[in-house]
Amino acid sequence: MLKLEQAVITQDDFSLRADLSIEPHKKYAVIGPSGAGKSTLLGALCGFVPLAHGRLIWDGRDITDAAPGARPMTMLFQDNNLFPHLSVMQNVGLGLRSDMRLTADDMAKVESALSRVSLADMADRKPGSLSGGQQSRAALARVLVQARPFVLLDEPFAALGPALRNEMLDLVQQLVTETGAALIMVTHDPKDVARIADEVIFVANGIAHAPEPAKELMDNPPPELREYLG
């Protein structure tokens, strides 16, 4: 269980309050108007944005000040998820060892992750020579080898076409189901919520609301959410 306790995140004159728990093995959608602070919320969970107040607790441990790499989560950003000067294999390998000293065991993990996302024959290519979908899959292979209990997606597939995007979301869904990780994804699209999410975190007016079951919330939205959904 991951808990944000009485958290306040401030950036310049923007501030976001959050007091919520995220349970393992569940899939969460983070929705809300643009500029409401969805990315900021994920950034705070991952350690890129400091908490002005409150604590972040994981299984009873206070990880409020832990470095991003030392947290139980892995995040895919909107862009720049791969180093363009490294091969696909190296990019995935960095998920296991930041000094790249991969053992035979590690190599086997990297290879099996690459085959899982159907990139086994692209291992030595650089990201620049891959298509957008292949790049996304390479990043997902790294998420796989990292095998962290929480996977955070900050709209990494926004630049893909609708069909490819859905394909990626399905793949993510399969992967987290296989690994048992919790998924927290930012989205604009109510259809994504219906497609994937168990629970919804609604972010608006400076508050990240506690998660609520997706179906009930979307079928019977409170006024603020109704206004956003239109």
Partner: protein, 518 residues
Amino acid sequence: MALRAFAISTKTGIGAAALVVGLILAAICAVLTRAEFGSGLGPADWSAIRFTVFQAAISAALSSLLAIPIARALARRRFPGRGLLVTLLGAPFILPVIVAVLGLLTVFGRAGWLNMALSDLNLPTLSIYGLHGVVLAHVFFNLPLATRLMLQAWQTIPAERFRLAAQLDLTPRAVFQSIEWPMLRQIVPGTAALIFVICLTSFAVALTLGGGPRATTIELAIYQAFRFDFDLSRAAILSLVQLALAGSAALLALWIIPSVSMGGGQDRPRQRWDARGGVQRIIDILAIGIGALFLLLPLGAIVTRGLAGILLTPASVWQAAGTSVGVAMVSIAVLLVLALPMAGWIATAKRGSVEAVGLFGVAASPLMIGTGWFILINPFADPIALALPVTALVNALMALPFALRILVPPLRDTVQVYGRLSQALSLTGWPFWRWVALPRLRPQIGFAMGLTGALSMGDLGVIALFADQDRTTLPLQMYRLMGSYQMEAAAGAALILLALSLGIFWIFDKAGRMNAEA
């Protein structure tokens, strides 16, 4: 999203910066201990100060003014060889001073090409020694720099302005007044200030073309006090004068100096409708023609004369060449050890003040640092035995400001774009350098290494203070040949030096770019 930049540790960077400042401060302190202020400044010292400022001012003014028509012509004309000419404008930067001086002597010297032609026509001949020789050499080095800076500025004028001017059918004069003059008013003072600062610490040019009571720079006076009179007190006092003068000028100029872009992007001339007239065409042809001749004739002279002299070069030249290559390689290594951590610190720090640390090296003159370290080493060891290591170190310090200007901007970009991903993957410290920063910056690192190697290869400064017969670099050996009027052998040495400097630059620059990701 606020990014806490802990991908790079700032400790090593601050350590490297402290080391640089410490090395220079130690030299200053050593100099201070020897300066006997009672003796004060003599008339010769005052005349050196006056000459230093005067020649720097004239060199800066001439270089900046003459660059205007050349840059303007290059900005609005296309012709075959234009790209090559623009590239060549960068060459004087890595051209050893002593080599250029020999080229200038061949063209403008007592028995040079120009004077031969003049005497054939029964016209009075010109002398290259003294003030006009020093200024001529400084203009030769800095006119191309000024031209590049202005060409860059010309290219920042949006094409739409010229299109609008064409619609309004403005005359060339009106175009100049309304579009080009406002741009020049911004760029010319900064360019002149930069050249002024560069010329203040000129040593090798003054050593070869100046000298005597009427054409001695402070830097040369330090050398003479040290080498001929072994008057450490006078050398020390002059060093302090130099530090105050060049330091304050550099600090003042820091605010107006334009950023020097070393890269390309100057290959595309703007389409200009106001430049079609015959008069405009003639002006441009003259500007480019005379500018190119001024740049190319001395370079050509080095090659032709050098080829004739190369077989006459004594073994000592080849030996010195080997030494110089070694010194250059050590300089490159020292530079990397200092510049990379410092760049890491500067790139992640809040913008501003820390960049000034690199400029410390510009303000402190090489001969002052050399004098200081001579004084420090003297009680413990024979400074002459350490001539080569000290030279390599000082050369690296001199290249440091340029290296930082090259490395910091792309490193700052890398941290911005890949900082979060690196943190998420725990890529900090050495793994960040190994897997992210070094591969991303390889072209710039190669360029900085090449530049440092070429500058060190061609440097005639500190080594002249320390060296004896056994320990000499190629530029010094060449200077000695010139001093003993073995001009053919000197020309051969010049060609070798030219080839080595350009070769070192080319190899590192090329290696950096090879297979580099965009």
